[in-house]
Amino acid sequence: MKLYKIFSSIINGFSVTLGMFFKTPVTIDYPNNQETPTSATKFEHALMPDDSGKLKCIACRMCEQACPAGAISIKAQEDDKGKSILESFDIDYSKCIYCNLCVQSCPVGSIKDVPCLDSAAKPDKSSFVYNKDKLAENGRKYKVFIEGSK
């Protein structure tokens, strides 16, 4: 009967609503609770150190060439044995498009993407450029995370 259908549909709606009332909210109250990021998140980059603490980077400039936006700038010098020594390594995050081609092209696994969101709201443009020390610091912070996710 039509009356039965009306009532049953309303009661069905209310039971759904009542059920939803007792479930936990899906929203995450962001700065207070944060979700643990998976290994696939790409926020910033890091220059990874090896086990002795030195940076793995061999200054081959593969990442600089691979970057489609030209965000990476590398200055390197040759020492007397012909090996390249990394002088400065800047990533300009106002140009980076987070494609991670630099990560894919690195032959030694020196540059990695880490889920570090500290720079989410920066006021001035100069703080967009990350130099070698900051990237290395990221590397130290996230060394365990990167190696654990392999």
């Binding site: 709606g13 209310f14 609503t17 939803m20 009332f21 936990t24 909210p25 929203t27 109250d29």
Partner: protein, 323 residues
């Protein structure tokens, strides 16, 4: 001295009522957010508890904009006509056997009459704004409210018949054997539907459809007048929830006679809170009813059924209980 005492009583009554209505807005947002699996306001104050204060401060600090050709007297009188009937209706409702501000012998009729005065408020806001859309919203609102007053009046008459009195306290005490909802179960949905229409809550909130008519009949109202209309609607909500509890669910009576150690005020508060919660649930669950169906539902369905049930209860009272 006497007038001072009366003034103090009035202030002690109205100020907590306003604060309660303010927190009802916060409660509504949190409940609807929980149903929609998100968090409601939680930034202002501890867990968002200061949100109503933030809302009121924002509303009071805004500029009162009056449309150029609006009638200033009507424009300023109208929000009062919405707020004051709501405040007037709440004085007759008994929270306990002694806790009633005015134990009128015709309490039920008084509530019906005063709520009819609230309609003037809506009409005056619509007319005084001098705007087409406000007028349309207001006229729709008035049509809706007067259409649903008739089933409401029949239901109230049936309750008065069953409880043999129009005094709200006596209606509560007459339910000490059996709550009124049991014999009146078929017309309880009619009462609920009429209540939703009179307080213009979803699913009948076309006069103030927030996403369609841009606040409907109060589109031209900005700061303190808008706050008054807003508060008036929430106080109306409290009045009608309390009326539901008093008429159908035994008012301040306990659930069964073993639990009499819990004070009656607590019972009344719990029951009213559950009814108010169900208003919020209805807002989150039900879609809006189309306006012509709203009116035809009242005139073609609710009025005949409530009249028929009134006759049934009258015959029952005549022949099976000595009237």
């Amino acid at each position: 001295m006497d007038t001072l005492v009366i003034l103090l009583k009035i202030i002690l009554f109205i100020v907590p009522l306003f604060i309660f209505a303010g927190f009802l807005t916060y409660a509504e947002r949190k409940v609807i957010a929980k149903i929609q699996r998100r968090i409601g306001p939680n930034q202002t104050g501890f867990k968002g508890l200061l949100q109503p204060y933030a809302d009121i401060i924002k509303l009071v600090a805004k500029e009162i904009i009056i449309p150029k050709k609006a009638n200033k007297v009507i424009f300023f009188l109208a929000p009062l006509m919405i707020l004051i009937p709501a405040l007037l209706s709440i004085v007759v409702i008994p929270a306990s056997k002694e806790l009633v501000w005015a134990d009128l012998n015709l309490g039920l009729l008084y509530i019906l009459a005063i709520s009819s005065l609230g309609i003037f408020g809506m009409l005056l806001t619509a007319w005084g704004s001098n705007s087409n859309y406000a007028l349309l919203g207001g006229i729709r609102g008035v049509c809706q409210v007067i259409s649903y007053e008739i089933p409401l009046a029949f239901v109230l008459l049936t309750v008065a018949l069953l409880s043999k009195s129009m005094n709200l306290n006596e209606i509560v005490t007459s339910q000490s054997g059996l709550w009124n909802i049991m014999p009146l179960l078929p017309i309880f949905p009619i009462f609920i539907v009429s209540i939703f229409a009179k307080t213009h809550r979803t699913p009948f909130d076309l006069p103030e459809a927030e996403n369609e008519l841009v606040a409907g009949f109060n589109v031209e109202y900005s700061s303190t007048p808008f706050a008054m209309i807003f508060l008036g609607e929430y106080i109306n909500l409290v009045v009608y929830s309390a009326l539901t509890v008093v008429l159908f669910f035994g008012g301040w009576l306990p659930l069964f006679s073993g639990l009499e150690f819990i004070p009656p005020v607590v019972w009344f508060t719990i029951k009213t809170a559950i009814v108010i919660l169900s208003f919020f649930f209805a807002r989150a669950t039900l879609p809006r009813v189309k306006f012509d169906r709203l009116l035809s539902f009242s005139w073609k369905v609710l009025i005949p059924i409530s009249m028929a049930y009134f006759v049934i209860i009258a015959t029952y009272m005549q022949f099976f209980r000595s009237l």
